[in-house]
Amino acid sequence: MQVAAAGTAVAALPVGVRELAHPPAAEAAQSPGTDKVVTSVCEMCTVRCPILVRVRDGKVVRIQGNPREKSTQGAICARGNAGISLLEDPDRVRTPLIRVGKRGEGTFRKATWEEAYRYIADRLNVIRGSYGPEALGVGRRPSAGDAFLLTFAKAFGTPNIFSHESSCPLGRNVAMEVTLGTSGVAIDYSKVDYLVSFGRNHMETLAVPQAQGIVVGLSRGARLVYLDPRRSPTSTAATTWLQPLPGTDLAFALAMLQVMIAENLYDQAFVKRYTMGFEQLAAAVLTYTPEWAATETGIPAGTIRQVARDFGTARPRSVADFGWFTSTYLNDFQLRRAILALNALAGNLEVPGGMFLLKGLKGYGTELGDWKKPAFPAVKAGRVDGAGVAGRFPLVPVKDGLCQALPESVLTGKPYPLKAYIAHRFDPLAAIPDQPRTIEAFKKLDLLVSVDVYMSDTGAYADVILPECTYLERTDPVMEASGLAPKIRYRQQAVPPQGNTRPSWQIYKELAEATGLGEYFAYRDIDEIVTAQLAPFGLTAAKLAESGQWTPPTAKPTYLRKTDPTAPVKLKTASGKIELYSAELAKMGFEPALAYTAPPAPPEGTFRMIQGKCAVHTNSATQNIPVLHELRPSNELWIHPVPAGRLGIKDGDSVIVRTAGREQRGLAKVTRDILEGTVFTYHGWGRTSPGLTRVKGKGIGFNALMPVITDPVSGSLVMRETFVEVVKS
């Protein structure tokens, strides 16, 4: 890349030069005119792929993957390509709004930022005076700008900080923390020879580096065994697709463990050196034979035995995927533990084609700097959700908490009621099941603030909507993106914020100043923060911006056990080893060994309701974005032809999905791609906000139907244990 204006951290490139890896100098010379090319980081989902943003006359004309990133090779997904459609969407909120109508009506008046801050600050200070600072809750989808909301919450003095994680990967994260001592673990996908995926739908719940790695592996002959009651694009890509009864993956995993131990197909030296609790594991799985698992899963014993043997034979380049979205069944925590045990038996930790610990900056002795702020006030009150508290949810990280505690606290007053809530890039109505209950809670709040690019469903109930600008219009703090080697990435502003929108570093600084907490935000602007972050590395923003990412020059991709299979691997569990049996769990009153619980069968006349993601949308956040909406404007209820025939439902018919006195309407997709007793829809529809003009009222919203069920160990929501009736409408 020709760096024509390094001082402004923007490289100039000729019009028409679209492949930016290494444009030949001769070509650059031939073309007059310039498109600015800004290195940045995508925010259309959580993965944060590095991108190049092409800007012409102050407008973004194209976004593409940064070809310097080896794990994506210049690819980005449909959502990443559609960033410009979000940027230009007329539905975006472009000025602060203060509610004038009833909560949920979506009637607001335009306000200045100062008015909006004053409105919020006055109410927050009253609430603090009456109920204490702990009456404020803040929730967010974790992002590079987390520091600002979190600093505001801590400065205010509340312990009630939530993330969306308990509605997504929390169960997996907690299982990893318990078993491996960290959730900072990744899979070396492109080098894996034999991957078993327990419903991790790589080709639709899309993380580009992972999907690309798997395709690379498959194209050189690697195998992918994929378990899913539904035929998804990952079923199509897989070398073997198995269709277990929903909620029985655990039986499959336990039987694999049983076979590997019984047939001595595991890495004994690894197990001895790096794990503890093998005897308890062996005893626990003794009776979980493939024949037993066949009756649970509906998959033939021979198939299960074969997968176990192939997995054991391919070790250490065999991996059981620990998954991503794991807010599924009541036995999910056990499933994640069983999956981690499979990997332990494969001895795949820290070898090529296995699992590896993320090699962060910390390990290399230097961490990102930060802006200076005073010590936070001491927090006196306990959390409303019991996260990190013995006897309640001791294993749930306090940075995440249980987002489902919001309605519980407000409506029951136990242990005390939240009175104010700030939702940042997070829509509790779309994330937390039992939507009507969350709405009831919203109506009882003294203050609800939504910080978002759209008027989300929650936004329609808010007192104030603060319009954040999109990721293309702002610079964020430098983010860590470490893998086999430490790495940082830099999201920098490509175009000025549209309308009266602002970046979160500015929003929370100004809100803090209005609330009397300005001392915690004593920075001038984001550039000052980035400079402070990079200072320990002797790196400047301009230098980082040239390629958009940076790895310490001395750091090389590292597998700790590549050359020496006995090399030490530091694990932060109590024993320092992989805990196949967890004394910590026993101490807390949880099951310390592996054990099976069968999922309840659907009551007569009902279906188990499951949902998943599609590749062109992220959670509930992108369904209204024009181009992505056009690709997939709605969802359908997948139902097998046999029950559909019994119910007189034909493909494309209108149907009603009912449970516990609630219903949702939608269209039926009659297909053999789902099991008979199960119905499926894609997640993220059923939106109600009048501000989402395209998607409002479309599709089936499961959140309106599901009850809140919480995993007692991990605090994760359980979203696939709901049974519904389906009738033709």
Binding site: E27, I63, A75, C77, A78, N81, V208, V216, V627, L631
Partner: protein, 186 residues
């Protein structure tokens, strides 16, 4: 227009779609839509998803750049023509907007662009190819399933996949001699 290879031979472009590497994510659909400023409601390229009864893999679907292109044959003003490098293009100035080509295309590749007043379609990002770059769909492909082959280049690996018969056209029985070739797994 640069249509000469380094050795002086003419380019002969074809698109290879390796369906065994396609994950059906539609990154290509959106990259194309944005790069070519395709109007709302239209696409130059889409993915037909696999179905339990039909195709086993996702199929990227766009203009097939046929050697015997019906759209070229029916065009009364020769606004649509096939370049010497194999890319079927349309020249806006010559087009009278009769839409014969839309009807004639057996692959349904064309849409009418109201703003431009022409029946537009995929041109394999000809401007980018001319500059030695990859089309938007190829560049963004998550599974690295897409490649532009140059049949005039004897050393081109992707062209070899066409010559060997590993990559084959879709619906050759239509007799239009398409230049998009698909690798299909077992």
């Amino acid at each position: 227009m640069s249509t000469l290879t380094k050795s002086g031979a003419r380019h002969q472009y074809a698109l290879v779609v390796d369906t065994t590497r396609c994950i059906g994510c539609e990154a290509c659909s959106v990259a194309c839509r944005v790069e070519n400023e395709v109007p709302d409601g239209h696409w130059r390229s889409r993915i037909a998803p696999p179905t339990s009864g039909g195709s086993k893999a996702p199929l990227k679907w766009s203009c097939m750049h046929c050697a015997d292109a019906p759209c070229v044959q029916v065009c009364p003003t020769k606004a649509t023509y096939r370049r010497t490098d194999g890319i079927v293009v349309i020249v806006a100035d010559k087009c009278v907007g009769c839409k014969y080509c839309i009807v004639a295309c057996p692959y349904g590749a064309r849409y009418f662009d109201d703003k431009k007043g022409i029946p537009d379609k995929c041109d394999l990002c000809a401007g980018m190819l001319d500059a030695g770059l990859k089309p938007a769909c190829v560049q963004t492909c998550v599974g690295r399933a897409l490649a532009v082959a140059d049949l005039a280049d004897p050393h081109d690996k992707d062209a070899a996949r066409i010559r060997s018969g590993e990559a084959r056209p879709l619906h050759p029985e239509l007799g239009t001699k398409p230049s998009v070739y698909y690798v299909v797994g077992e």
